[in-house]
């Protein structure tokens, strides 16, 4: 991990217009990604993790979606204002993605070779033969046995774990600077998950790829990521280095989340800690802290205004009135 910032997301807002109103799926998200860093984005379903990342690479269906504001700077250039051609140069090449469901993200009608060669020919300007050699080499790196034979098979001939390996090989085939992995192991079994995570970690380290890992599993981020962003109702509520987030979480939501997971390495007697209530509906959210109805440290001001982001030591920050000076003055 170096100090060079390769991706900077500034105040990103992605809204969806539906019959009931405006869904503010992502509402002012900012973060930075350094070269070689693994950044985890954690949150529950509907918190805006996936939409954030689809917005980065311009894959939001519009309409009903709309990028209502913000910037996504990749090496200083705003990706949100680029032409479709410019985006296509980056997407799949400099920034590639792995999706959750390896069953649906491969085209069932095409051989693996066709799908992999297509990307490499397009982005690397190699000939078909050279691309195929490169593809076989990538599959081998991804731990697929007999890649020369397997490459001419169809997706249904691979198991779930193997398909995710193919996706990883494909995603890394153009030496991307950033790999966005959206719940890459959530559809997989525990032992296969361990295989895939280890593979991702090893390959991205070797190739120096930065990773944005989207997941709902705290266990996965703890083992994989350098930094973590915790999202709730379309915003980042806490951010920091992995050790700090787990050791001294500041936002009540992060604290609750960490405490409510039963632990394999500890005895949990009696009741589990649980955050009461439900995640909010993000349609027409009022401008207050969206977590206040579930928060055990709620104050009056939380119900009136969205809290500012308060910085702590070691690059940690949290959006909570508990730490804001204005709240103490009020």
């Amino acid at each position: 991990m170096s100090d060079e910032v390769i991706l900077q997301v500034k105040d990103l807002k992605t809204y969806f217009t539906v019959d009931e109103g405006v869904v503010k799926a992502v509402d002012g998200v900012s973060f930075e990604l350094h070269r070689g860093e693994t950044l985890g984005i954690v949150g529950e379903s509907g918190s805006g993790k996936s939409v954030t990342n689809l917005s980065i690479i311009n894959l939001i269906p519009m309409p009903p979606g709309k990028i209502a504001g913000g910037q996504v700077l990749f090496h200083g250039k705003d990706m949100l204002t680029m032409s479709p051609n410019e985006i296509r140069e980056i997407r799949g090449n400099k920034i590639s993605m792995i999706f959750q469901d390896p069953m649906t993200s491969l085209n069932p009608f095409l051989r693996i070779s066709t799908q992999m060669v297509e990307t490499i020919v397009l982005h690397q300007g190699l000939s078909k033969e050279e691309s195929k050699t490169k593809a076989i080499e990538m599959l081998k790196l991804a731990g697929i046995p007999a890649p020369e034979k397997r490459i001419d098979q169809y997706p249904h001939q691979f198991s779930g774990g193997m398909r995710q390996r193919v996706m990883i090989a494909m995603g890394l085939s153009c030496n991307p600077e950033i790999l966005i992995a959206d719940e890459p192991t959530s559809a997989l079994d525990v032992t296969i998950q361990a295989q895939i995570l280890e593979l991702m970690q090893e390959l991205t380290r070797r190739l120096g790829t930065a990773v944005i890992l989207i997941t709902h599993s705290l266990g996965v981020v703890a083992g994989m990521c350098n930094t973590i962003c915790v999202m709730y109702a379309g915003r980042i509520v806490e951010r920091g280095r992995t050790e700090e987030i787990f050791e001294s979480p500041r936002h009540p939501y992060t604290m609750g989340l960490i405490r409510s997971v039963p632990r394999l390495d500890q005895e949990t007697r009696g009741r589990l800690y649980s955050i009461p209530g439900q995640p909010p509906n993000v349609i027409d959210l009022p401008d207050c802290c969206p977590f206040y109805p579930r928060c055990d440290k709620v104050m009056d001001i939380c119900k009136k205004k969205y809290p500012p982001t308060v910085p702590f030591e070691k690059e940690q920050s949290a959006a909570c009135w508990l730490y804001a000076k204005e709240a103490q003055n009020a």
Partner: protein
């Protein structure tokens, strides 16, 4: 082993599904989803059943509930063999055995209100003359159940789509409780839920167990959930139980190489521990259960396999009091 009252006794349960190539053709082959499992569930305990997808956990639960007709084996609930029970006996037995399913979106009828869904088991029993209940009594019972599972009784007339995933799971639990069963078969009841909701539902399961003295057969693939909820844990692999032990014992002292690998593969939400952990990474995938192996089902992936494992299937045997394992590392073949 101290004496425990056995509520559910499963003996040699097998569930094979035929693979047919055409509608009228004879079965060419079988999927050996469950291939001979024996276990007992004691009154008042929670037996956790854990394993990866395709290992036969759900099939086991469904075969116990007689939603599938088991290929072989016996299932005794309160000393009645359900596999041989006739329709009326089975219906009566189901009063004591209810199920909670994984997907709260698919397991509730979208055209019925929450109140009707919860009342349905009672109405069915009433219709079959197995229970007396007036309309008012049913209404009272439904409201009482809803409050028990943490739903407001004012939601009685709402439809499933008006509820969130966690609330729907509560409706499913209320329905399972409607007949005051002794045993609830819970098939991955929390795996479709978010972390913060999952802990609420796990607490609910515990509270209900304390209040009504329920017995659970609790299926999950998440090892930490199983550890939290279970008294004893059975680990399944490819249609067979490979290890059964008290929860604490199993997690502290896993014997079967598969259990060891499973425990070491599960991520722990603590970066310090994660950095130091030694993982046993299993190679390969879970093989397809479409053939019966002469030896140990785990042979191909086992880091400790021996020659004998390929030829003879290890039996599930007690190695320490209350700890059964099927592995030749711990007992010699007969």
């Amino acid at each position: 082993m101290p004496d425990h009252e056995i509520l559910l006794d499963v003996r040699g349960l097998k569930m094979h599904f035929p693979i047919r190539t055409g509608f009228f053709s004879k079965a060419k082959n079988f999927i050996y989803a469950v291939d001979g499992v024996d276990f007992q569930v004691r009154k008042g305990e929670t037996l956790g059943l854990v394993g990866e997808s395709g290992c036969g956990k759900s099939t086991t639960a469904r075969a116990i509930a007689q939603l599938y007709k088991p290929t072989a084996g016996e299932v005794y609930l309160n000393n009645l063999d359900l596999t041989k029970a006739n329709g009326q006996e089975l219906l009566a037995a189901r009063k004591n055995m209810q199920m909670v399913f994984q997907d709260p979106y698919a397991s509730l009828n979208p055209r019925m209100t929450a109140g009707d869904i919860i009342a349905e088991p009672i109405r069915i029993f009433k219709k079959n003359g197995l229970m007396e209940a007036s309309k008012d009594e049913i209404d009272d019972r439904v409201e009482q159940l809803m409050e028990k599972v943490g739903l407001s009784r004012f939601f009685k007339n709402r439809y499933p789509h008006e509820f969130s995933g966690g609330q729907r799971q509560r409706i499913g639990i209320a329905r399972a409780l409607a007949l005051n069963p002794e045993l609830i078969l819970c098939d991955e009841p929390v795996s479709a839920l978010d972390v913060s909701i999952q802990s609420q539902i796990l607490n609910l399961f515990r509270d209900l167990q304390d209040e009504f003295g329920l017995t659970y057969l609790f299926i999950a693939h998440d090892l930490s959930v199983i550890k939290y909820i279970s008294t004893r844990v059975a680990v399944m692999y490819l249609g067979l139980i490979v290890e059964i032990a008290d929860a604490g014992d199993l997690y502290k002292n896993p014997l079967h190489p598969y259990t060891e690998a499973l425990l070491s593969a599960a991520p722990i939400p603590d970066p310090k521990i994660e950095a130091k952990r030694h993982r046993i990474i299993l190679t390969g995938d879970v093989p397809s259960p479409d053939k019966q192996r002469p030896g140990c089902n785990f042979y191909d992936r086992c880091p400790k396999h021996m020659d004998i494992c390929k030829k003879v299937r290890p039996a599930l045997k007690e190695t320490e009091p209350g700890h059964q394992v099927s592995c030749f590392l711990y007992h010699k073949p007969e």
